[in-house]
């Protein structure tokens, strides 16, 4: 269980995270979504006491992180694929972390087996593929057999097999009753994994709700309408209350009307409709709609030469 209350983090005169409040509950995979630079990594580092918050309070299993006895038995984290000295072997790395975390040495072999690295545990990490490093990072996270697991962009750069492995692992960990909190800037990654979603943009909370509800509330399907007179059809549909955006030279994206209504209106106006296709909404669409403002903001900032907050 992670409780974040009014978290703000300022770098210089810019807020990476502003007045963020939400909880992450056990037994679910909670997706933490937002465009690059939205403040996801900052939030995760703050949970671990690595970034010192400008304001706000974070509780992990009811206590501040720094007050936890043997923190690794509460929280395991995968912050990025690095975090390991390339000259050290996987086993030595895990032994060092286990010793620092006051964990029994037998855990090292247990987690190596769980992530499938036993055979290469004696090799220098510098020779590992990205997928193997990621597995080692997850082995490190599992070392303390923690109730909470935080993964920051865990599938970045992985091949499809690696992605599937991580997805299955996250689901399995949640099914064991653990709290799984995983960040991503890609909705599609969360679509099959997350039960609950926390969405942020520009450092602020945008949504905090079950994945299913996000689709229902922010989704709302759309129609692709192909016509030989797009200009006139736009006028007709807009005056009937639809939101219309051109998708191609002769194709319109229509929200707010069903196919029957579009056909009738077009017929009434004498516009020929060549095709009407119905699209169910995806989580991806809902997410893009939600974070639109944040993305625009990022574009403008980019022109002014500001840097993102993601480190």
């Amino acid at each position: 269980m992670i409780d974040i209350e009014g978290l703000s983090k300022r770098y210089g005169d810019r807020y990476a995270v502003r007045d963020l409040t939400f909880s992450v509950r056990p037994g679910h995979v909670t997706g933490f979504l937002g465009p690059n630079g939205a403040g996801k990594s900052t939030t995760m580092r703050a949970v671990l006491g690595l970034d010192l918050p400008t304001a706000g309070r974070i509780r992990v299993d009811g206590r501040p992180y720094a007050a936890l006895e043997r923190p690794l038995t509460h929280v395991g984290m995968l912050l990025d694929a690095g975090g390991v000295h390339p000259g050290r072997s996987a086993r030595q790395h895990l032994r060092a972390v286990a010793a620092a975390g006051k964990l029994p040495g037998r855990r090292v072999e247990e987690v190596l087996a769980r992530v499938g690295l036993t055979d290469v545990a004696g090799h220098r990490v510098g020779g590992f593929s990205l997928g193997m490093r990621q597995r080692l990072g997850i082995a490190t996270a599992l070392l303390g057999d923690p109730g909470i697991l935080m993964f920051d962009e865990p599938v970045n750069g992985l091949d499809p097999e690696g992605i599937r492995w991580i997805r299955d692992l996250m689901k399995a960990l949640a099914a064991e009753g653990r709290t799984v909190f995983v960040s991503s800037h890609l909705m599609s990654e969360m679509e099959n994994t997350a039960d609950h979603l926390v969405v942020i943009g520009r450092g602020r909370l945008i949504a905090d709700l079950p994945a299913r509800e996000l689709i229902e509330r922010y989704g709302g399907g759309f129609l692709s309408v192909r016509t030989d007179e797009p200009g006139r059809l736009i006028t007709v549909l807009v005056s009937a209350g639809a939101r219309v955006t051109p998708e191609g030279p002769d194709t319109l994206r229509v929200v707010g009307l069903d196919g029957d209504a579009v056909a009738r209106l077009a017929h009434g106006a004498g516009v020929l409709v060549l095709e009407v296709a119905r699209h169910a909404t995806s989580l991806e669409d809902a997410y893009l709609q939600l974070t639109d403002a944040a993305v625009e903001y990022r574009g403008r900032q980019g022109h002014r030469g500001h840097r993102g907050a993601e480190a």
């Binding site: 690595l50 912050l79 390991v84 000295h85 050290r88 072997s89 030595q92 972390v97 286990a98 620092a100």
Partner: protein, 249 residues
């Protein structure tokens, strides 16, 4: 915590590398000196001058012990594992210092004995028992260990390996020689005496028999030990102070 740092220290090649380089430098220079010095004109403390290689290697090791953790991102795992960062830094510093003192004194004595044996064969005899010689050898080893701890301090402050190594070399091997020259005449002598290099020289040469030139400003050995301990304390205190005040990105 110490155990964790012990595993980390010995499970990378750079530690062994640094110690080999230090050994080759100190003992190598001692043998060279012993073989080329005029037998009638041997200054035993000169055999300790290979310590300069030891300082460089120890300093780089001191930098790497901490900067490699920052550079690879391991430091985040470390600080998340042990949120009391001062405990982490104290464990690192304590272990490193212990290792450097043992290594520094071992190399310093090894250099001395190498020179003693080689000079003895050529008819120039001197002994550890005579004339502050043991004190010189001890001072030399301890000074090397201190320079390593100064590297550690620079590593914690700057976090990045290249920046920290460059800064360390710049301060210890260049800055300490250049800065006093820029100071006004009145304070120059004092400043020179307090530079690392001269403090180290004072610690390693109480047994020196050849007279120094008047322009060679060196503290007494006792005072030099005091100054060195003070520098050592600062080199440990600064990392302990800065480490809790920063984000660990």
């Amino acid at each position: 915590m110490i155990r964790s740092e012990w595993i980390k220290l010995w499970s990378v090649r750079s530690t062994w590398c640094a110690l080999y380089v230090a050994a080759a430098g100190t003992i190598g220079l001692a043998s060279t000196y012993a073989m080329v010095a005029e037998p009638g004109d041997v200054e035993p403390t000169n055999a300790l001058q290979g310590a300069v290689f030891g300082q460089l290697a120890f300093g780089v090791l001191g930098v790497l012990v901490v900067s490699s953790e920052y550079t690879t991102g391991l430091i985040r795992t470390t600080f998340a594992t042990v949120p009391r960062r001062r405990v982490v830094i104290a464990a690192k510093a304590g272990l490193l210092f212990a290792v450097l003192v043992v290594a520094g004194e071992t190399l310093s004595f090894a250099a001395f004995f190498t020179a003693q044996i080689l000079c003895g064969r050529r008819g120039a005899h001197f002994s550890l028992a005579a004339h502050d010689m043991a004190f010189s050898v001890l001072g030399c080893g301890f000074y090397m260990a201190f320079v390593g701890m100064f590297g550690f301090c620079v590593g914690v402050v700057l976090q990045r390996t290249t920046a920290a190594v460059a800064t360390f070399v710049g301060i210890v091997f260049v800055g300490m020689g250049v800065i006093p020259a820029l100071l006004p005449d009145g304070v120059r002598a004092e400043a020179v005496r307090l530079t690392f290099t001269k403090v180290g020289e004072a610690m390693a040469t109480p047994a020196r028999t050849t007279p120094r030139s008047a322009a060679d400003y060196v503290l007494g050995a006792g005072a030099a030990w005091g100054v060195c301990l003070l520098y050592l304390a600062v080199s440990v205190a600064v990392p302990l102070l800065v480490v809790t005040r920063r984000d660990t990105n």
